[in-house]
């Protein structure tokens, strides 16, 4: 008697299955009335196609509407596939995570240990390609709370054998201060955070820092902190927001010329953190290869829906398929430059992420200036 091959849904992310096999299995799991979630089974009734019979390929994922806005209000229980009831060995309750909350109320997702472990292990394996030291302490200048980056970083510190020094950081409050136009409030909050960074950096032996780009920049306003980092810190990872190529180059050449700097791209909607492709020069823009086919990117011309040529900027579409979640065809607010996937997997890699430019500002006509 032979053991059946594991489902593509249960394959470790480091040894990915064929994309088409994963699409078939994911659709079968999420839309079978016995295993699918209440959310998708209900939502399927409103579709003008039958996912079980009409969706076979990665291309077919674009048949789906973008449902991520519905994640702002649906109960988490309704997102969990009912098939989990018959899977033994998973006793944990869903771990809730949320999006940043830039575009209104946050979008809410969840994870169970099967997928969380797959994603985290993949993250660690990609970090190991980056000369990451073991046994050094980590300072996490990244949000905890509902933001998965905090948990991901904390767990990475443990995996790499370091003590984790977390920080309370509320990016939504910072965004609210910015939106209210109160420069003083923003400055006050940022100073409050950098003070906390300072207390840790000046008293603890920190070897790695995980930070958001704005806070990394705020840390750079204090010369003595820059000196401490240059003396003692081996690696900085940045994540949680984009860092433009000019800033990244200044960081790598002028501010922290000796520090190993690694960009991380991630979001709740793809449930993973993606370390930048290893091997690039210090001043080259970071390129991110997603864990295809579990999370895939496309960079498209939003007018035509077609991919832009490699090397050109397009709007980001993501597909995310695991046993936990089915979030296909999510057109993001970000644009990025399209690259071939570095490992030859399905979908695109991306670099130089930035928000879609907004043209909503009122024209200023009056006056001579």
């Amino acid at each position: 008697m032979t053991t059946p091959a594991p489902s593509p849904l249960d394959t470790p992310w480091q040894t990915p299955p064929d994309a088409q096999d994963l699409v078939r299995e994911a659709v079968e799991w999420h839309f079978n009335p016995k295993t699918g979630s209440r959310f998708w089974l209900e939502r399927a009734k409103t579709l003008d196609f039958n996912p079980l019979t009409d969706v076979h390929t990665v291309e077919d994922l674009t048949l789906f509407p973008n449902v991520v806005d519905e994640l702002r209000h649906i109960p988490v229980e309704d997102m969990v596939p009912q098939g989990y009831a018959s899977i033994t060995g998973i006793t944990a309750r869903p771990l809730v995570g949320e999006s940043g909350g830039t575009t209104g109320r946050p979008k809410r997702i969840y994870s169970l240990p099967d997928v969380l472990n797959s994603s985290w292990r993949w993250y660690w394996s990609r970090l190991r390609e980056h000369d990451m030291p073991s046994g050094r302490n980590w300072l996490g200048v990244v949000p905890m709370g509902p933001h998965m980056i905090g948990t991901l970083t904390q767990d990475a510190a443990a995996e790499f054998g370091g003590i984790y020094f977390p920080l309370d950081l509320d990016p939504r409050w910072a965004k609210r201060c910015i939106a209210s136009g109160s420069a003083e409030a923003v400055k006050g909050y940022v100073n409050h955070l950098v003070d906390q960074v300072e207390w840790i950096l000046t008293t603890q032996d920190i070897g790695l820092i995980a930070a958001t780009p704005p806070l990394l920049q705020a840390i750079c306003t204090r010369d003595h902190l820059v000196d401490i980092i240059n003396e003692r810190v081996h690696t900085i990872t940045w994540s949680g927001a984009s860092m433009d190529a000019d800033t990244a180059e200044l960081m790598a050449t002028e501010v922290f010329p000796e520090v190993n700097i690694i960009g991380i791209y991630g979001s709740a909607m793809i449930f993973c953190g993606i370390p930048q492709r290893p091997g690039g020069g210090r001043t080259d823009p970071a390129i991110f290869d997603p864990p295809s086919p579990f999370s895939m990117f496309g960079l498209i011309d939003p007018e035509t829906g077609r991919s832009v040529p490699y090397g050109e900027r397009g709007q980001l579409v993501s597909h995310h398929m695991t046993r936990n979640l089915f979030l296909p065809n999510n057109l993001e607010r970000d644009t990025a430059v399209r690259h071939e996937h570095g490992l030859g997997y399905a979908g695109d890699a991306l670099s130089e992420v930035r928000p879609v430019e907004e043209f909503g500002a009122a024209k200023v006509i009056e006056g001579v200036y």
Binding site: T221, D244, V368
Partner: protein, 464 residues
């Protein structure tokens, strides 16, 4: 075969380590939409680090500042700066801003002349009771010493005319280190001026050109000690309350003709006030108040401005500003939506298409029927003037909020009141257009009143 397009000018940021070319570059176009230059925009981290260099630097001594300014003036006006001749620079400004080239030459010569005179001009603001340094013998018996309120000045510069860049030269003369954020529409003038000043002796840790997008722009002001911010009422509203930012808001300059004045005799002064420099400045008159019947005055102005030809800005005969056609239409539409019951004597439409994607803005002369008509406060960057009646009963109210007021007529009691009125910042009596100025007289108060203060120093007499 397509003709090769001329090479784009490269406008680097001028940072503390010299020119900085970023990946994030903005295309600067001419008024026809054609490419002119690539401007490097610096990220916030660059701003942050550059501003720290400025704040920790030491200013050169007085004689070095004087020498550098004196040398930079003629270099800016006529020299080759960074390999760019004066004429190339003038053409770039005309093409990008749409200001007629002859006015560009005059305005930029004004900036060069101001630079050469700035060292002495800046000292005109010093209180008569103050000495310029604590080593002055007067301090032995106790004296006021004129000192800086800070060390670093930030400037958010506009694009309307090169002339605005004379505004911050006093600061260099007084020993401030200066960071200029240029307008992305016309970065040529500040780039040339900063480069000329650097070539003449100001170190890269004294004077920066930091082109940025909006997001990074606030950092320049936040990291400076004091700042000059040009803009409309919104900018004044944003910074007006703080003591460290001096907003340079709308000019709303005006002319007042008192009873019995012969308009024909003063028409040159009036028309020059409205239309000199193509009406691009805050010192150009936007309203004319007439004690008596305003209609003949409006008609006389309209008659003089009616024949101004619509020409590309590079044309030697051009006198009107040119904009991208769509921008010109927006301005026209704005004027239509706001002119209300004003009677257009000229400028029913102000758009004069040039057929190449750009349009000249024709002069507009409107007649109002009362002194307190709100239209009289509308200021636009081309010759556009509101002519209204004024009586003694109307009083000061319609004349307030004025950068320059030229009063025509002989009424000393009225002049007393105009000079005393705090919201009228300059008064020209007689045939002196609102656009008149020279180094050494204040523009909107002396900049030195904002940059400097007096403090008491008394010290022992080393001789005793």
């Amino acid at each position: 075969m397509p003709t090769a397009s001329p090479a784009l000018m490269e406008l680097a940021a001028l940072g503390p380590r010299g020119p900085y070319v970023s990946r994030n570059r903005q295309l600067v176009t001419d008024v026809r939409g054609g490419p002119l230059a690539e401007l490097s925009l610096v990220p916030a981290l660059f701003v942050q680090r550059a501003m720290r260099t400025l704040s920790t630097a030491e200013s050169p001594g007085e004689s070095d500042r004087e020498a550098a300014l004196t040398q930079a003036g003629p270099l800016f006006t006529t020299g080759a700066v960074g390999g760019v001749s004066a004429e190339e620079y003038h053409r770039a400004v005309a093409a990008a801003s749409g200001m007629p080239i002859t006015f560009v030459r005059t305005a930029s010569r004004g900036v060069g002349d101001y630079a050469a005179a700035a060292f002495d001009a800046a000292r005109m603001a010093r209180p008569v009771g103050a000495v310029s340094g604590w080593r002055d013998p007067a301090a032995r018996s106790g004296a006021a010493v004129w000192v800086r309120r800070g060390d670093v000045l930030a400037v958010h510069a506009p694009a309307n005319t090169p002339a605005v860049h004379a505004a911050w030269l006093d600061a260099l003369a007084l020993g401030y280190r200066v960071a200029v954020r240029p307008s992305r529409r016309e970065p040529f003038t500040p780039h040339r001026l900063v480069a000329a000043l650097r070539e003449s002796g100001f170190g890269p840790d004294q004077l920066l050109l930091l082109p940025t997008d909006h997001a990074a722009a606030d950092g320049i002001i936040a990291d400076a000690d004091v700042a000059l911010a040009f803009g409309g009422d919104a900018v004044v509203g944003k910074y007006g309350a703080g003591p460290m930012v001096l907003p340079q808001g709308p000019g709303r300059s005006k002319i007042l003709l008192t009873s019995g004045v012969d308009v024909e005799r003063h028409l040159d002064t009036i028309v020059e006030s409205v239309a000199d420099q193509a009406g691009t400045g805050c010192v150009n008159a936007t309203a004319v108040f007439v004690e008596g019947d305003p209609a003949p005055v409006a008609e006389a102005i309209a008659a003089r401005l009616a024949d101004a030809p619509a020409l590309p800005p590079e044309d030697e005969r051009a006198v009107l500003p040119v904009r991208a056609e769509s921008d010109a239409r927006d301005i026209d539409e704005f004027l239509r939506s706001r002119r209300g019951d004003a009677r257009p004597l000229l400028g029913d439409t102000v758009v004069a298409e040039l057929g190449d994607g750009s349009a000249a803005l024709r002069p507009a002369v409107f007649l109002l029927d009362r002194a307190d008509a709100p239209q009289a406060r509308i200021e636009l960057g081309f010759p556009c003037v509101w002519v209204a009646p004024w009586t003694r009963q109307d009083g000061m109210a319609p004349l307030r909020d004025t950068l320059v007021l030229t009063v025509l007529g002989e009424d000393e009691a009225l002049v007393d009141r105009l000079v005393a009125e705090p919201s009228i910042r300059n008064v020209h009596v007689g045939d002196h257009p609102t656009t008149w100025s020279r180094p050494g007289v204040p523009h909107d108060g002396y900049l030195g009143e904002f940059l400097m203060r007096a403090k008491t120093v008394i010290r022992d007499d080393p001789g005793r």
